[in-house]
Every structure is written in C-alpha cells, then in structure tokens.
C-alpha cells in the first residue's frame, strides 16, 4: 500500500528511518553528556574501544548474509571454537600477542570443520536457516557447558580452586594477554585514546572480507545467493557456496571472540556465548543490512551506532534519572531491530 505521507529528502531516505532515529538518539545522548559536564573524551574513547571489541563478530555475519543463509544466529558455534582456542592457549601459558595468535589459530582450525558441518545442516533445512541456527546455537552452548566442566585442563589458574576440576566461568586474562591488541599501536587524539591494534586487526579483516567478495569464489557465492537456478545454469553448486559462506562466517566468529576477549580482559565460558549472536545481529541491521544484503559499510556504521549507544546510555541515564536504563534500552533496540528486519523479509 502506498502511503503518501511525509517524504524525506533522498539522502535521508537512503540512510533509512530506523538508522536515522538511532543516530538522533545517539546525538541526544551525547548532547546530554555534554550538558551534564561528563567526560566526553572518555565516552568517545570507550565507544571506539567497544567498536574494535565487537566489530569482528558483526563482520562474521556478512558472509552468511551474502551467501544466502540469512542472519547467522548460529554465531555461538564459531564463538565456541574461538573459546576452545583461547582456553588451550591459556592452559599452555602462552602470553602476549603470541597467545592471541595461538588462540585465534586453534579457533580457526576448529571453526573450519564445524562451519562445514553447520553449513551441511543448513543445506538440509533450507528456508529455516535462522530458526535452525538459533536452536543449534542453544544446544551446542549447553553441550559445551558439560565439556568445560569435564575437559582435562589442569592449569590451576583456569580450574575451580575447590576440587581442582572443571573450568571457571570467567577466566581473567590479566597479565596474560589482557588488552594486548588494544595497547599495541595505541595512540591519543586530542585526549581520546584509540586502541590502534584492535582497530587495525578489525580493519584488516574487513578489507580481506571485502576483497574476498571480489574474487571469483566470493562473486560465485553472492551469485548463488541471488538465484539458485541461474547458479545451476552457470555450473555453480549453490549447496557448496552456502557451505563456503557458513565456514567463513564461523571462522570470523572464532577470531572475533578471541579479539573480544583480549579487549574485554576476560574469557567467559559456559552460557556466555548463548546470546552473543543477538547484539551482533542488531549491529549489522542498524547499519542498514537486510536478511539478504549486507556490506562492509553496514558493518561499520551499525557497530559504531549500536556500541556507542550502549557506552553512552549508561552514564548519561544514571546522571539524569538516577537509575540504569541502559540494559533496557539495549534490549529494546537490539530485539526491536531484529524484529524489524524480520518483518522486512521478502521486500526489496
């Protein structure tokens, strides 16, 4: 149905109304922060830190969307691969950037077969990818909780102090590789501290993914997403391209959680990965992606908008209304955004 209502100028319509509302909300939050004499530099710095921390997890969604499996609600699969890598590297006691590298390396190695298996499953449940991903994620997270409890890790800094068996729920990275990437190449611009290393890693991965979708394989994946029958006529197996896309998504999620953990300073196990797909999905959607189309630009814009709101909302609201609505705001924006995107399926 046509609605001859308010018409926005072209560039604003391009930007999209949801994005516009969220950007305005963010500007308002910053304005309040300035008005109440808060540490604006600190807030901006925190926002940027969180962009670097979460960015790769958001980026991990892009190949899935481009490959035609939609928003990858099965992100926890890749995250768990990365966590296993992290725990193994911690158990071996590898410090610094080498530790991060080892964790990511092991994570990626695990993520390739896991992603392939997940892709195989998604090929058998076509049309239900998002639902299947969600529940597979839930199931695997619970299964891995048993693993964390029974896994034969012996390093006393990792296992429960009492009993000496089973990994702790939260492993501190202090003194091991806490913020190594954030500190590496860190610099300050007019009082705002920028975590150079993490952003460099995030930027490099963005570039690589961008480049990948300009190679033959990348274009093939995107073409198969666009039209299965076209792909078949061009001799492309769309089942294969979907698996390739799923593997790439899972691998990026594994790297993403390692980078997340070093920046956060803790490795969170057990049920922590359970809901990690949701904020990432909200980010890419706020950036302007749809269930069938996403770009690096959507990843960058979305991550910045969403993470900045989370950073600024807490201190600002506690200043203004003596209470914390940041978690409430997060849940409304995050789930509202996902809901909005789902209602848009099938439209342009």
């Amino acid at each position: 149905m046509a609605k001859p209502g308010i018409r926005l100028p072209g560039f604003l319509r391009e930007f999209g109304i949801p994005r516009l509302l969220i950007a305005v909300f963010l500007v308002v939050l910053f304005a309040v922060a300035v008005a109440t004499h808060m540490d604006l530099r600190g807030l901006i710095s925190d926002s940027i830190v969180r962009v670097g921390r979460n960015g790769i997890l958001v980026l991990a969604l892009l190949p899935a969307v481009q490959g035609g499996i939609g928003l990858n609600f099965g992100l926890p699969l890749g995250i768990i691969c990365g966590l296993v890598g992290a725990v193994i590297s911690l158990n071996a006691g590898v410090h610094g950037i080498a530790g991060v590298g080892m964790a990511a390396g092991i994570g990626v190695t695990l993520a390739i077969p896991v992603g392939a298996g997940y892709g195989w499953l998604l090929n058998r449940t076509r049309g239900q990818e998002m639902m299947v991903g969600t529940y597979l994620g839930f199931a695997i997270v619970s299964m891995m909780s048993v693993f964390w409890l029974l896994a034969p890790f012996k390093n006393p800094t990792l296992v429960w102090a009492i009993g000496g068996r089973g990994l702790r729920t939260t492993l501190s990275l202090g003194g091991i590789y806490d913020k190594v990437l954030d500190r590496w190449l860190t610099f300050t611009v007019s009082g705002v501290r920028i975590p150079g290393g993490t952003l460099v890693v995030f930027g490099a991965l963005c570039f690589l993914v961008w480049l990948f979708f300009r190679t033959r394989m990348g274009i093939t994946i995107a073409a198969a997403r666009s039209s299965t029958r076209f792909a078949r006529a061009a001799g492309i197996s769309d089942e294969r391209t979907r698996v390739q896309a799923t593997v790439l998504s899972t691998v990026l999620a594994a790297i993403g959680i390692v980078v997340f953990s070093q920046s956060y300073g803790f490795v969170q196990l057990y049920t922590a990965p359970l809901l990690m797909a949701f904020p990432a999905i909200a980010c890419i959607l706020i950036g302007g992606a749809s269930v069938t189309r996403a770009t690096i630009g959507h990843v960058l814009v979305g991550t910045f908008l969403f993470q900045s709101i989370l950073t600024v909302a807490l201190p600002v609201t506690s200043q203004v209304i003596q209470g914390d609505i940041s978690e409430t705001a997060r849940l409304i924006i995050q789930n509202g955004m996902i809901l909005y995107a789902l209602t848009r399926i099938g439209r342009t």
Binding site: M1, A2, K3, P4, L211, R214, T215, R216, M217, I219, T220, A223, S226, S227, R229, F230, R232, A233, A234, G235, I236
Partner: protein, 530 residues
C-alpha cells in the same frame, strides 16, 4: 456513467523514475462501448501507464505522477489497486489471479459474495452473514454466459485448462456492478490460437454491450481485428493514433519502432557437406512439460540450425538436456569428444553456451548490475576479468575490464540503459534478452544454444536480436542452435529447421520448404526428410 464524458480520459500524464522520464505527456481516452488498443515496444511506457491507472504502490514510492486521470468525467487519483477497483476499473492480468482450491463461482464472487442475515450476524455484525449460494451461482452463471464459457460454475478452478482460467478472470471483472473500464493486459499471451480468437470475440461482444475496453497487446493482427481506435506509444510519447480500418500491421510496427521494419535479413543457405560439430545420439531429457525421447540429430559446423515444433513436444528440452540443466541420457559428441551429460560446468568449459528460454529465472540475476550479468559466466567458467595474481583462488575481479567489456557489449548490441551499473530488472524484456546474449557471447562459445530468443519482446527488439544472432554466426563463426515457437522466425534465419513432435525429430527441412511440409511435420505426419 454520464453519457457525454468518456469512460476514461488521461490528460498529459508525465512520470519520472529517478530522473528518467518514462512518460512524457500521454493523453488518451476510451469511450463506452469502445475497444481502444494501446501498443508500443517494451519500455515504451505501457506498463507504467497501467501502474498509474491501477494505483500501484511503485508509482507513489517513486514520487507519483503529473497529469490527470478522469474516470467517467470525474478526476481520479488512485493510491492503491483497491481504490482503483472500487472506482470501477477491472483488470484482466497476464498471470491469473485465481484461487485454485476455490470453485469457479467462489472465485468470481470473491469478497463480493451475496449474503443473508442469520442469528449470529444479527448479534455480531454483517461479517458473519451466511453466503447466499444460489444467488452466487446465478450471478456467476450469468457472468460466465457473458464470456461464453459453458463450464459448471460449481467446480474447482484447480486443474482447469489455461484458457478457461483466462475467461473466468474476465467473468469476474464483468460481474462487478460498477465496472466502468476493463483493461486487458496482454490477455492472449498464454492462450492457444483458438482460445485467443474466442477471447477477441468476447471482447467485441462486451464492447457491444457498452463496456469500455483498454486493450494492451504485442500481437498487432489482434489489434487490427478488434480495436476501434489505436494509440501507439514510443519512448513515453504518443506517436500516432492510426485508424484501424485504414492501416496495416506493417504501418503500426513502423510507428512503434520509429523506423521501417525490414524483413529479417535473408540467409545464405548453407552448403550441406560440412562435417558435424555436435552429434546427438538417442538423447532423452526429463524436462517436465518438454520431455525429449530418443532424439538423434547432427549439427553442422558453422550453420544455424532451427528447432521448432508445438509447445510441449520437447523442443526446449534438447538444449536444456545437453547443457545439463535437466537430467538427460544418451550420447552427445561435441568436437569429436564425448560430452558428459548433467554437468553444466563441463559443457560451459568445453565451449558450449546457452541463452535460456527462462530469462528471469535462469538467464539473469535481476538484482545485479548489467556488467556483472554480462561478465559472470565467463568469470565463472574461464576465470576472465580477474587481475593477474600467482595464486588462482585469490585473484580479484578486474572491475575496469568488466566495465569496459560491458560498455562494448552495450554499444555492440544496442542495449538501452542508463549505464553498465543499472540493475538488470529495470531493463525492458528485449534489453534483458540482449544482456543474456551478451553474456553468452562473452563466453566466446563455439556452439551457442538460444531458446525462444524473441519470446515476450516487442517487434523492434525482435528484429535486433535476430540480427545479432545472425551476425554472431556469420562474423564470429559460432554454430547456432536456435529453438523457437515462431516458425517464421526460424525459417528466416536458419540453414535447416528440425521439427520436434512428441519428443522426437519429425523432420529436418530446408527453410524454404513449402508451408505444408512444416505443417505436416508439426502434426507428426511426415517421415524423416532432408
């Protein structure tokens, strides 16, 4: 309806899509009891005009239109199809809008059912009134009689022949009490010849009863047969309103394309002694609706072989089977080596290419740009348009080369577009077909299958596509196998024409063979000839 004012009047309609003026002040009127034919090439603006008349959302999403629409003398501006329908515009679509599981009468009266009050409806409102089935049947019966369809009004629509569905659609529109204008949008495109004639007769009959009819079609002989007035659109402008009694198909075609429509270039007929480049032996293809059974056929190097036959007899299955799109069995020898079937990739790599009859589904990525559509198959099969890099899988697409090639193709094939990055779905049918041909050419095939090259595209583009195919064969030495439902077209460009009947080759004829021979072969009544 007021007597003086025309049923429909359009006054200087102007419409722009993203700065591109597709309608430049179109005016026309349809009087009661009149059939007004609207003809024009694809992309001339017919669909846009219909979208405006029918209040389609796409018009409002792209900034509305200028000009006036008057219905029965009163200004009208529709914001949704529902408004247009309420105002008395009836539309008979190309694709059927019928509920297959519902009965004929239910479809005709859908959402306008006569009802009777019952106790529940007295309490809870008229939405719960019972259906007045006898009246529904009577109304439907009357409407069906008007369109001359003798079927029982109480059977389900599912399973009825295509022709019947078209007539049920018309019956549904005719049954509407406030009908002021009936629009037929390419109604005969999917009908057999007899059904098409019947439909034209009904249109005349409806007009005689006082209905105003706007008739959109590609088939110019139909226009001359039924229209009282004709409006020819070209590039968004009315270029002529020839009097149907004093004009000819050729004259209308000329108006539509803006240049005299030359008869397709005559072929030099091929010297019959050349060696075969493609040998097909005992080919079976399991393509639903176009099954191929035991076809044996040789294609000679450098020729244009036409494959004709009636719909459903399997002519389309041959190319689809060899290219591996539908499961096939048998022996196919290409260039002296066995070609494995059911392997689309291998067929492409061996130098075969295919322009599919299913442009939107198989032939194009409608959401993607023209340049990507043109380059994609060659990129995929031969690794063209990639920057050099030692490690094969890491080579990145060379956008500049892709763009340059697309521009060259746009120029060579005269693709009407705003630029190589335009989405393919925004092109008209003829231009989409040219993109399909461009992609096949980019593969630099030695043998090219082209199925239904001119289906659903207008006169001017038809001519252009056929010329392109001829030139491809002549100048680039590509052997062509052209499958088409239009025999005249096959005979114009082919060196030989094979006629398929019930999945088998009924005859291979020279294009200048008498019409009777073709007729007999299509009816399956001739032994193998020539």
């Amino acid at each position: 309806m007021t007597s003086g004012a025309p049923a429909l009047e359009l006054r200087s309609i102007v419409k722009e899509y993203e700065g591109n003026r597709v309608l430049k002040g179109v005016s026309l009127s349809v009087r009661d009891g009149e059939i007004h034919a609207l003809v024009g090439e694809n992309g001339a603006g017919k669909s846009t005009l219909m979208n405006i008349l029918f209040g389609m959302p796409v018009i409002w999403e792209t900034g509305g239109y200028e000009g006036e629409v008057l219905l029965g003398g009163a200004p009208a501006r529709f914001h949704s199809p529902a408004e247009a329908m309420d105002a008395g515009i009836g539309m008979v679509h190309q694709e059927f809008m019928l509920l297959p599981g519902f009965r004929v009468a239910e479809n005709i009266k859908l959402n306008r059912e006569p009802t009777r009050p019952n106790p529940a409806s007295r309490v809870l409102g008229p939405k719960l009134e019972s259906l007045d089935v006898p009246r529904m049947r009577a109304d439907a019966r009357r409407a069906l009689n008007q369109v001359g369809l003798g079927i029982d009004e109480w059977i389900a629509v599912a399973g009825l022949p295509v022709g019947h569905m078209q007539f049920i659609e018309i019956a549904r529109e005719v049954d509407k009490a406030n009908l002021k204008l009936l629009i037929f949008d390419e109604p005969t495109a999917v009908l057999t010849e007899t059904d098409a004639e019947k439909l034209l007769a009904i249109m005349r009959c409806l007009a005689a009863k006082g209905h105003a009819i706007l008739f959109i079609t590609h088939r110019l002989d139909e226009v001359l047969a039924v229209a009282d007035r004709i409006t020819v659109l070209r590039d968004g402008e009315v270029v002529g309103t020839p009097d149907p009694k004093a004009t000819t198909v050729v004259r209308i075609a000329e108006l539509m394309v803006g240049r005299p429509a030359a008869v397709t270039a005559q072929r030099r007929f091929f010297a019959p002694a050349t060696e075969p480049v493609l040998g097909i032996e005992n080919l079976n293809v399991d393509m639903p609706g176009e099954r191929v059974e035991d076809v044996t056929l040789a294609v000679r190097r450098g020729e244009i072989l036409g494959i004709g036959g009636l719909a459903g007899h399997g002519k389309l299955g041959i190319a689809n089977g060899i290219m591996g799109l539908y499961p096939g069995s048998g022996r196919v020898i290409f260039d002296k080596a066995l070609l494995p079937l059911n392997e689309p990739r291998l067929a492409l790599e061996r130098g075969l290419a295919f322009v599919s009859e299913d442009r939107r589904g198989v032939g194009l990525l409608p959401e993607e740009s023209i340049e990507l559509n043109i380059a994609l198959s060659a990129l995929e099969a031969h690794g063209r348009f990639l920057h050099p890099f030692p490690i094969q899988p890491l080579r990145v697409v060379d956008h500049r080369a892709m763009r340059a090639h697309a521009l060259e193709m746009i120029r060579a094939l005269d693709i009407r577009t705003t630029g190589p990055s335009q989405q393919v779905r925004r092109l008209s049918g003829g231009n989409q077909q040219k993109v399909c041909v461009a992609r096949a050419m980019t593969l630099e095939p030695r043998l090219l299958f082209v199925s239904e090259p001119t289906r659903g595209i207008d006169v001017g583009a038809k001519q252009r596509v056929l010329e392109i195919l001829s030139a491809l064969n002549r100048d680039h030495d590509v052997t062509l196998v052209v499958t088409s439902s239009e025999l005249a077209e096959l005979r114009a460009i082919s060196d030989r024409v094979a006629i398929v009947y019930r999945g088998r080759i009924a005859a291979v004829l020279p294009p200048d063979a008498p019409d009777a021979d073709f007729g007999l072969a299509m009816a399956g009544e001739s032994a193998k000839a020539a």
